[in-house]
Symmetry: C2
Subunit: 340 residues, 2 copies
DNA sequence: CTGTTAGCGCTTTCAG
DNA sequence: CTGAAAGCGCTAACAG
């Protein structure tokens, strides 16, 4: 069952069938209807390779995601949700998603080549280091690229991320509203965009309430549990320990809660903790963690939209950037305080 | 940079270049070496569409994964790991992975059509209902299909799963070794293969130790947290409550621990709990959960291997089946008992 | 509005 | 062992 067969059966040329099926305006409404109906009846669907070969567009988007970059895959608890959103948004646009293999770092042209090999219409990347030669080479190409939680720059690039700064501010505001004034934070690795933004949001909110910013209240972590526990221990050992802590990642936050408990403090009784990410465990632990949830499905949808936008964007346009809203999920890890 | 250009520059015909690059035996070692070197130097890589169109094989495997089937995506905490394993194994074989869109259930031929559209070499499916018309139609096709934790049957199919039965038995054996004799279980939905197998393993291990099987010790859950809590409450309310519980899923297990605590029991002091799956939260909760870990990366690798096997298998061969070993991760949720 | 025709880049007989 | 040539199924000028 190919286009030729369809043409024969409907009594028109293959060109007309092609035009009808591709929604071209030159076909009369009547012939189009006839052809479309026949195609549906016969269960015809065009061969993707032939179409790609002839049109030089594949309708395929590549997903670049390095499972071994930082944390062996645990860094992106949200991959699944992003994938769901991306797949849905792409298939709404009639596009497909292909997972790109990771190329060795000494093969600078690797991704560029993959892009040509599959005639990709675009690439979305997450969990990769955008400064490596192979990624930079791809970004400098006219192929549309969108980075998730990743600052990318090039002729046709866009970045999608949550509004981490506002989210962090909202978390701190929540603590403030509960009466907390000595609010500390445990950060992520500050060379990562989201981590840096969360710290900025924390600071901004303190400033907004005219709270003094104390350097000893900003302890650095790496998004892993152990660093959260260590951070909490350091904070508790301070001459004037905080009554609340905004922790930039849930795994760290959960470990921080345990560290506090091990030090004889009760959560939320003695110390309030708010996390970030709303990983599955956040709802499962006790006390259930109050945290900031990101809308990962929307990441995918936004990526698909940006890709479409970029496809026709002039090569000289500046990189685009989208910030998605977040949501504070209030659970059990924060209480009020009367401690000055 | 196409094959013609390569041919011109190396002074041979396109046919020879094609043969050389595809490792065909008819080419002289010397010409092959020259061509391969030139191709590498020029950064040539063949156009996938052209190749697919001409050879009728794409090197693409489709991944069928319904994010909305049962639990809205939470049922497969392991998707990510499976994906990692699958992607790695496939790219080792020079194959690619494409995510298939979910077709509406009234479109019985949907997947079959997608399969032809992309000239897929095979499909791996997980988290779908294999009894729906659209999946059945695909399975009945000669396209190699492998189901992960899914019983599939058809001319070219294979199933991959953990050895759930042995795993469950090992969990119960662990409890037995700690002195427990009144061992209960909270199951998953028994129409799901893994859930049924885990129950079978539990029963088998009881029998092996000549422990009486008590119907009231087998309470059913649905893999969700709430059912784990409910199950534990029921067990605790028994005239002769168990001293240990094997819970068929971690989310249920964690909730069961909390339910026990709420009922005034300590874990592992008064009651031991072992879970299944080793989700991230298992290591994060307190007490950290003793549980059965599956080797998800190996799922992917096994799937790739099966696919290769099936490609050349006769259409009349019976469905294949692979059982992967698991690992008991001992943490803090099980203690010894002296209670008879 | 529709048909003819020339490829898209590669693989694969079929000769030699 | 190598080359010539015929497609793979479709799109996109170019005519009409």
């Amino acid at each position: 069952m190919d286009i030729g067969e369809l043409a024969r059966r409907s009594g028109v040329s293959v060109a007309t069938v092609s035009r009808a099926l591709n929604g071209r305006p030159e076909v009369s409404a009547e012939t189009r209807a006839r052809i479309v109906a026949l195609a549906a009846e016969l269960g015809y669907s065009p061969n993707a390779s032939a179409r790609t070969l002839a049109s030089r567009r594949s309708g395929l988007i590549g997903l670049l995601w390095d499972t071994d970059y930082r944390s062996g895959g645990r860094q992106h608890p949200f991959l699944q949700e992003v994938l769901v959103g991306l797949k849905a948004a792409l298939s709404d646009r009639g596009q497909g998603l292909i997972l790109l293999p990771i190329v060795p770092s000494d093969d600078a042209a690797g991704y560029v080549r993959l892009t040509r090999q599959y005639t990709l219409d675009g690439v979305v990347m997450m969990g990769v280091d955008q400064h490596t030669p192979q990624v930079r080479a791809l970004l400098s190409t006219p192929v549309p690229c969108v980075g998730l939680d990743l600052d990318v720059a090039g002729p046709r690039t866009a970045t999608i991320g949550s509004d981490n700064s506002s989210a962090a501010a909202a978390a701190v505001a929540h603590l403030y509203a509960l009466g907390h004034r000595r609010i500390a934070t445990i950060t992520g690795p500050l060379d990562l965009r989201p981590a840096a933004e969360r710290l900025a949001g924390y600071r901004a909110e303190l400033a907004r309430h005219r709270l003094r910013r104390r350097p000893e209240y900003e302890v650095s972590g790496d998004f892993f549990a152990a660093s959260g526990a260590a951070g909490m221990r350091r904070l508790l050992a301070l001459p004037e320990p905080p009554t609340a802590v905004f922790v930039a990642g849930d795994a760290m936050a959960i470990a921080a809660v345990h560290a506090a408990q091990d030090a004889g403090r009760s959560v939320p009784g003695d110390i309030a903790v708010v996390g970030f990410d709303d990983i599955d465990a956040a709802a499962l632990v006790r006390p259930a963690l109050t945290t900031v949830a990101q809308d990962y499905r929307r990441f995918g949808a936004a990526a698909a939209a940006e890709l479409a936008e970029l496809t026709t964007a002039p090569l000289t346009a500046p990189p685009r950037s989208t910030m998605l809203p977040t949501r504070l999920v209030v659970r059990e890890s924060c209480g009020t305080t009367t401690d000055p």
